[in-house]
């Protein structure tokens, strides 16, 4: 015979659900429902103002896989992520290790490195746009060089990635600093007695011990990197010669969905990106067993 739940259990059940209700509601209304709707839309040729949608089955997907622009955008996005993620992680880790030591002006430097994260991406992009300007920009005029930082198709995407690295270092650094607080001092003392230098301590003690944090940062940065949009949107115009070589997948989605109001095809592009990010993340989750140490 099943025991009847006590009044305390019932009350806990109700209150428990009540407490997660706001989060659940937000998640369902703002994330889950739009996601399902987007996937649904990718099977339609959408009409004007959301009226008169026609079901077209897999036609959008067939078109996406044959669309050279989509593949180019995917390549651009990957190029961006490949530069942005490793550099921002390594630089942030080194900074975190340095700023975890007792040095003068530690709080000052921590704040300075974190500042770019607080500034609105649009403002960041506008400032860098002038720094990079090939004729009147500070960079070219200081070093007396003539480089088309953001209008040369071969380097523009990397110039944008540099801004991405600059903006995100502070955020990664703060996460690493939090991870470093958990590393016991004893290990370093023991290692010093054994004659390990700073570099060896970093590789053999710090990195393995904060590997869960590193893993978390890499996974979230890869996802964010694949979704790059605002910097490119602000820096590159339709008439920029580097346009085709910098357009990211999310930009392509924005172009189709909102500028040309082909919502169905735009949805298909973004579902492809979703699938790609899912695959990348699964690979990383499998790969973590080799190098991430949970205590």
């Amino acid at each position: 015979m099943k025991k009847k739940p006590s009044s305390r259990q019932i009350s806990e059940f109700i209150w428990g659900w009540l407490f997660i209700l706001p989060t659940m509601a937000g998640l369902i209304i703002l994330n889950i429902y739009p996601m399902i709707d987007t996937i649904k839309q990718s099977f339609y040729k959408t009409g004007d103002f959301g009226k008169g949608n026609i079901f077209v089955g897999l036609a959008n997907y067939r078109k996406v896989f044959g669309d050279a622009e989509v593949w180019q955008a995917l390549a651009n996005t990957i190029k961006y992520a490949i530069v942005e993620v490793p550099f921002s992680v390594v630089i942030a880790l080194l900074l975190a290790v340095i700023l975890n030591k007792k040095i003068k002006g530690r709080s000052f430097f921590r704040t300075v490195f974190f500042l770019p994260m607080v500034v609105a991406p649009a403002a960041v992009a506008m400032v860098w746009k002038w720094l990079y300007n090939s004729n009147f920009g500070l960079i070219n005029n200081t070093f007396h060089i003539k480089v088309n930082w953001i209008s040369d198709p071969n380097i523009a995407i990397y110039s944008i990635a540099v801004i991405g690295i600059w903006s995100v270092i502070g955020y990664n650094m703060v996460l690493f600093l939090a991870g470093l607080q958990e590393v016991p001092r004893d290990y370093y003392e023991a290692a010093s007695l054994d004659g390990a230098n700073g570099w060896q301590q970093l590789i053999h003690i710090t990195v393995p011990l904060i590997s869960p944090t590193i893993f978390f940062v890499i996974v979230t940065r890869v996802i964010a990197g694949m979704q790059v949009f605002d910097l490119i949107y602000m820096l590159i115009d339709l008439n920029n010669p580097a346009w085709k070589k910098t357009e990211s997948l999310v930009y392509l989605f924005y172009k189709y969905s909102f500028q040309q109001s082909k919502k169905g095809y735009g949805a298909t592009v973004i579902v492809v990106l979703l699938a790609f990010i899912l695959i990348l993340t699964v690979i990383q989750l499998i790969g973590q067993k080799k190098w991430v140490h949970y205590e």
């Binding site: 703002l30 739009p34 004007d48 103002f49 959301g50 009226k51 709080s107 921590r110 974190f114 994260m117 607080v118 991406p121 746009k129 990079y132 300007n133 090939s134 004729n135 009147f136 088309n148 953001i150 209008s151 040369d152 955020y171 703060v174 600093l177 939090a178 607080q181 949009f229 605002d230 115009d237 339709l238 008439n239 920029n240 010669p241 346009w243 085709k244 172009k255 909102f258 500028q259 040309q260 109001s261």
Partner: protein, 456 residues
């Protein structure tokens, strides 16, 4: 202490990333803010609402909805102060408050479409040739036909015909013309003096333009700067002047592969190749009007809507002036690609009577004249452009006004203009950089444009 700092930083970061999470959150928040803004005054004016309560039942006249407020949305910050002044005069007469909100060009269309889909359009807003057909066919705009027929202030014969026709669909009128624009040649007098070249006048041909641009070029500045992303302020004028066309009259086929169209684009690619016009990289990073204001180019082709920008720039006001565009063979083929905005109202607006009253006022001779006098833009009402010419002292705006006597060609459009227009801008890059011959690029554009038009 350290942990507190980290916690604080994390908190800030999370807020920042939440905001950065983007479009969805921002757009959903906006209608909510609007709703509260509308509700609050209603609550405050409960006394006033009581008196008006009797009339509220049947909103047949404007007076019955006095406590409401109209929202107006436009995309040009330069025009806002002048327009708000005109709107305020209407408010003084009607007793209805109306505020202008400015959203920049790109976001304007994104927001307007989202608003139309969700049934939350602004009460009164600007309409444009690129998308007018789509909005009219889907009954998003308030049908003004009967209201215009009944009005003693508005007569469609008083406005330039092309703009009136643009906002017609199935014999109905959906917007009242707001303005007209012409394209003219802005130039830097100081550079012309320095290089000993006579100022441009109505005798210039496009060949003279090209030859003089070369003479005006040295290490310090270029002769002319093209705006590769703005067809109306560039190659569309030469295409029609040289006898080519962009789109056929029935809007079914592209004219970009026409020999004359190709010749017209070549005029500019030749200038880039000669070095008298900056390369694509330069103009894509710094717009031609910025180059003109910085004394970096002697000439720039611009629309009359740029007036406010040049007037408010000290350097341009002191050094620049404006002349008519050149012609090809005879002065008869001097072409200005023109466009005109229309004032439209939401079909499902809460206060369509007030919205119509405002549009009627904005389209009246009085308000159209004031718009010109304030130097906001040239007005769509015929015979008011003299007032616009006299609105500033620093430039001789006859350059723009005389273009009204040139061959006026309406800016090419179709039902989904943006689709092929963006494609064209993208593909023309290869022509500007010289990566591909102009012929190949134009033929390629025509093929894709025909496909896009077939899909409409």
């Amino acid at each position: 202490m350290v942990k507190k700092l980290i916690a604080l930083c994390l908190g800030v970061a999370m807020t920042a990333s939440l905001v950065a999470c983007g479009g969805t959150a921002a757009t959903t928040a906006e209608p909510a803010a609007d709703a509260t803004a509308q509700e609050t005054p209603a609550a405050d004016d409960s006394a006033a609402a009581d008196t008006a309560a009797a009339e509220e039942e049947a909103p047949t006249s404007i007076g019955s909805s006095v406590e409401g407020e109209l929202s107006i949305t436009i995309w040009d910050e330069g025009q806002r102060p002048g327009l708000q002044q005109i709107v305020d005069e209407w408010s003084a007469q009607s007793g209805v408050k109306a505020t202008i909100q400015v959203v920049d060009w790109n976001d304007y269309w994104t927001l307007l479409e989202a608003g139309a889909t969700g049934g939350e359009l602004p009460d009164v807003f600007w309409m444009h040739s690129n998308v007018a057909q789509k909005y009219m066919e889907n009954d998003m705009l308030l049908d003004l036909t009967d209201k215009i027929a009944a009005s003693d202030k508005i007569d469609m014969n008083n406005y330039y015909e092309g703009i009136v026709k643009l906002y017609q669909s199935n014999g109905k009128q959906y917007a009242v013309p707001k303005d007209i624009d012409t394209i003219a040649l802005w130039y830097n007098k100081t550079i012309f003096d320095e290089m000993g070249v006579p100022y441009p006048d109505d005798t210039w041909t496009w060949e003279d333009f090209k030859a003089n641009a070369k003479k005006l070029t040295n290490d310090e500045h270029w002769g002319y700067a093209i705006a590769p992303g703005n067809n109306q302020e560039g190659y569309y004028n030469t295409i029609y002047s040289m006898g080519g066309y962009v789109i056929s009259d029935d809007k079914k086929t592209s004219g970009m592969d026409d020999a004359n169209s190709i010749k017209a684009v070549k005029l500019f690619t030749d200038m880039i190749a000669e070095g008298s016009c900056p390369d694509l990289a330069t103009v894509s990073e710094t717009a031609p009007n910025e180059l003109l204001c910085a004394g970096k180019t002697a000439m720039s082709i611009n629309g009359s809507w740029m007036l406010a920008g040049y007037r408010d720039n000290e350097y341009a006001a002191a050094n620049c002036d404006v002349a008519v565009l050149p012609y090809t063979n005879t002065p008869d083929d001097r072409v200005s690609i023109y466009n005109g905005l229309g004032w439209a109202a939401a079909a499902n607006g809460k206060n369509t009577d007030a919205a119509w009253s405002l549009i009627e006022y904005l389209g009246s001779k009085e308000a159209q004249l004031e718009q010109a006098e304030l130097g906001v833009t040239m007005s769509a009402y015929k015979g008011t452009s003299d007032a616009w010419v006299n609105s500033v002292d620093c430039f001789d705006l006859n350059g723009h006004m005389k273009m009204l006597d040139a061959k006026l060609v309406f800016r090419p459009y179709s039902r989904d203009t943006t689709v092929w227009e963006d494609m064209m801008i993208e593909k023309l890059q290869d022509a500007w950089t010289g990566a591909k011959p102009v012929e190949d690029v134009c033929i390629d554009i025509a093929t894709e444009m025909n496909a896009a038009l077939a899909e409409e």
